[in-house]
């Protein structure tokens, strides 16, 4: 049951044009990522409660994470 001032249509409108995001673990931190066509991933959001994590260069939103780096 939703408790929100938004209307039902605002929440459940057609969302086909929106990209699906995935949650992965990268360098032991949970990240929301978007898969790109060449197999690399673009960091969308860092999921952490530690404010210092958001200052790390590796976790700036938009950072490209290549597949090779995650397998290491």
């Amino acid at each position: 049951m939703l408790y929100t001032p938004l209307s039902y249509e605002d929440i459940n409108g057609l969302g086909d044009e929106y990209k699906q995001y995935e949650v992965i673990k990268y360098q032991n931190k949970q990240c929301c990522i978007e898969r790109m066509q060449n197999g690399d991933m673009r960091l969308v959001q860092l999921l952490s409660t530690d404010p210092n994590d958001f200052l790390l260069n590796d976790f700036i939103p938009g950072t490209i994470i290549s597949n090779q780096r995650t397998s290491q």
Partner: protein, 241 residues
């Protein structure tokens, strides 16, 4: 043999000192200071609070299953001394919101919340669940009745079910803030404030006036208050020992 060993040792020394010299040349110092681990952790609740049902991807959501383990980790980690909850939410799932509120309210560590932008609907119990709450002067909180979407069976039991759900929200909010139940219900069922709905859009200053939120302010006030609460808790623990 010994000579060879000595040579390699000297070479190692040289390379070590040269890297040190390089660092000093580049940075003007021998070691790069690391940021100390923060004793305060931040939980941001943005967009819709997502619960039992996954919302379509155009919604920006805060997922219940992400936050619950983080709250457990904050309670369990002795290095973390306090929690700041930052809210800019349009509400969401009632049970997920209440679960988060109860988790935050039952933390043994001090917590402070800041409502920025909006803390609507189910954001209200989350905002009041912390030990102390702040609201930005421009932020608003919409208080309105719970309603059902989709297929609704028109029987009295449906109304009773919604009423019970609503009662849980009201009980939580009145128990964790200074607002009176009558006042909260009055705001919830007010007419003429919202264009398409009954209820009230409470702005920063009014939220403090009604006793819903403790203080008007921002992040500096919140961190100062949290540090004061952490110090107070440390003092009381020392007294017990």
């Amino acid at each position: 043999m010994n000579q060879q060993k000595q040579e390699t040792k000297e070479k190692e020394k040289e390379s070590h000192s040269s890297s040190l010299v390089e660092k000093i040349q580049q940075l003007g110092q021998s070691t790069i200071p690391n940021a100390p681990d923060s004793n305060i952790h931040v939980l941001s609740i943005i967009g819709q609070v997502e619960g039992h049902v996954q919302l379509p991807p155009q919604n920006k959501t805060t997922k219940y299953e992400h936050l619950i383990p983080q709250i457990v980790a904050i309670e369990q980690n002795p290095k973390i001394e306090g929690l700041v909850v930052i809210l800019n939410t349009v509400g969401g799932d009632v049970e997920a919101g209440l679960a988060l509120s109860e988790m935050i309210a039952s933390l043994s560590k001090p917590s402070v919340s800041v409502v920025l932008g909006g803390g609507h609907s189910i954001g209200v119990p989350i905002a009041v669940s912390t030990d102390y709450s702040f609201i930005a002067p421009s932020a608003t909180m919409t208080i309105h009745p719970i309603r059902l979407t989709g297929l609704v069976i028109g029987v009295p039991q449906t109304f009773e079910y919604i009423d019970k759900m609503q009662e849980r929200v009201i009980q939580f909010v009145t128990a964790h803030s200074n607002i009176k139940e009558e006042k909260f219900k009055e705001l919830m069922f007010e007419k003429g404030n919202l264009t398409r709905d009954i209820g009230t859009n409470v702005v920063g200053k009014d939220a403090v006036e009604y006793g819903l939120i403790d203080e008007e302010g921002g992040i500096s006030g919140a961190l100062a208050k949290l540090n004061a609460l952490i110090d107070a808790q440390k003092d009381s623990q020392e007294l017990i020992q």
